[in-house]
């Protein structure tokens, strides 16, 4: 991938709301060139979606997030892929990964409250074929999400002038 595209992706990953014009001045391109590159990256599937990092705790909707670990019997010829694809169709599953270590699949599941999460796990996930074991961990507090610190940090004092 070209250096300019990588720069563009890093900028968008940090703030996808910047306009093409603003991005253009950052990397010495014209706005039209930025737009063309963004379209190409969208078309090729490198850029999947533009989203927002929200501190839901602060927004106060009381949603509950949990990490669910699954031990799974893999399928001949397919391994974990088919069951993972099946799980990923659930709206409640925000993130799904295959892991090394003591369990196989890791799900990030959100729900309105604890009951909803637990019902989802016990009614939909646990009874699925090939799932041997589940462990549900409720997230109590989030301090950092996707590289963004969610707690208040003191700003460092700097002198107004220094050489």
């Amino acid at each position: 991938m070209q250096e300019k595209d990588l720069e563009l992706l890093r900028i968008l990953e940090d703030n996808s709301r910047l306009s093409a014009k603003e991005i253009a001045t950052l990397i010495n391109l014209t706005p039209a060139e930025v737009e063309a590159r963004v379209h190409a990256l969208e078309a090729s599937g490198v850029i999947r979606k533009y989203t927002t990092v929200i501190n839901w705790e602060l927004a106060g909707n009381g949603e509950v997030s949990s990490i669910i670990e699954l031990k799974v019997n893999p399928e001949r010829d397919y391994g974990y892929d088919r069951i993972a694809e099946r799980l990923s169709r659930f709206r409640q599953v925000k993130t799904l990964r295959l892991m090394t270590g003591t369990y196989d699949l890791q799900l990030l599941v959100t729900g309105k409250n604890m009951q909803e999460v637990s019902r989802f796990v016990s009614e939909h996930v646990a009874p699925m074929d090939r799932i041997r074991e589940t462990a549900t961990h409720i997230i109590m507090k989030s301090y950092k999400e996707n590289g963004n610190v969610l707690f208040e940090q003191q700003e460092a004092e700097r002198l107004p002038y220094s050489f």
């Binding site: 720069e7 890093r10 900028i11 603003e22 001045t25 950052l26 990397i27 010495n28 460092a156 700097r158 002198l159 107004p160 002038y161 220094s162 050489f163």
Partner: protein, 385 residues
Amino acid sequence: MRNFISERAQNIPPSGIRKFFDLALTMEDVISLGVGEPDFRTPWNICESSIYSIEQGVTSYTPNKGLPVLRETLSNYLKQHYCLPYNCDDEIIITSGVSEALDIAIRAIVDPGDEVLIAEPSYVSYAPCVTLAGGVPVPVECREADRFKLNPDALQEKITRKTKALMINFPNNPTGAVMNRKDLEAIADIIIDNDLLLISDEVYAELTYDGHHVAAGSVSDLWQRTITLNGFSKAYAMTGWRVGYLCAPKELCEAALKIHQYVMLCAPVMGQVGALEAIRSAEEDKNNMVQEYRLRRNMFVAGLNRIGLPTHVPEGAFYAFPSVKGTGLSDSEFAERLLTEHRVAVVPGSVFGAGGQSNLRCAYAVSRKHLTEALGRMESFLNGL
């Protein structure tokens, strides 16, 4: 009572911006582009390793030259990154910032009456350090027309029988100018032909945006007559840690070490531990910061040119050096009015010596949001002139 202040101390000119400094401290809502340090925090792994070492009781003196493991790691780093073959045993001294390295380098080589050429605009301490050592600082002007590079003819012109050394700083504070290999080769011949010593302050080496930094000591046959100064402040956002280093061939290094051991004994051990961690595992943090500076530079320099302050593209460091020639104001008037009327702090270029009289030093080591706001305020100021 007698006047106890030495003539030397009396004769050092006071800081060129004391007045601005005091003024800015009394004002609210000032956006400061006057700061010569990164706005990032020191990467946490560096802080953590230093904290851990304090917990382990690592709080004593180190050898004068610095921790052996730090010198060894640094020696390898300089070889790999800059083709500088300094031996870790007797050609590297860890200092309390580049400021100390600069002082001991000058005192190690200057005798009373020796002339030291300084490529200006330059960092404010070069000339006073030469004076304090009994030498005579002689400015060599780097002109805007040369994109603030050191012009070989201008250098040749200033050389006399008393000239002993040349001091350069590229990437440059305050201009952001960079000397590439060809530029350095052109001055190398003059340095060698006139049997001069070169002091090269390369503290902004890692902040080079359009290519790779070329160390002066790696060019032609300069190595044996070059003292390389560098440090961790700018690249790793470690200004308050006070860790720099001086590298030079054995005999020169030994002379500087004699001074270092009496005036400093050693650089603070907590800083040295942090510096070691910086080289070992803060490469990515550094690259991320450099990447962000590059974006800010592109946007800020384009903005300055757009609002009517002609600015050459700085290839390194984190300073833009716009010209105020077209405004009808001197650099100091411009800086003072911009501060009092529009609350943006910049440093007048004349503070940095010859060649900077019509310019402003604007540090873009501040957030993009603040840069945008500062540009807006500068534009209103210009429109009101």
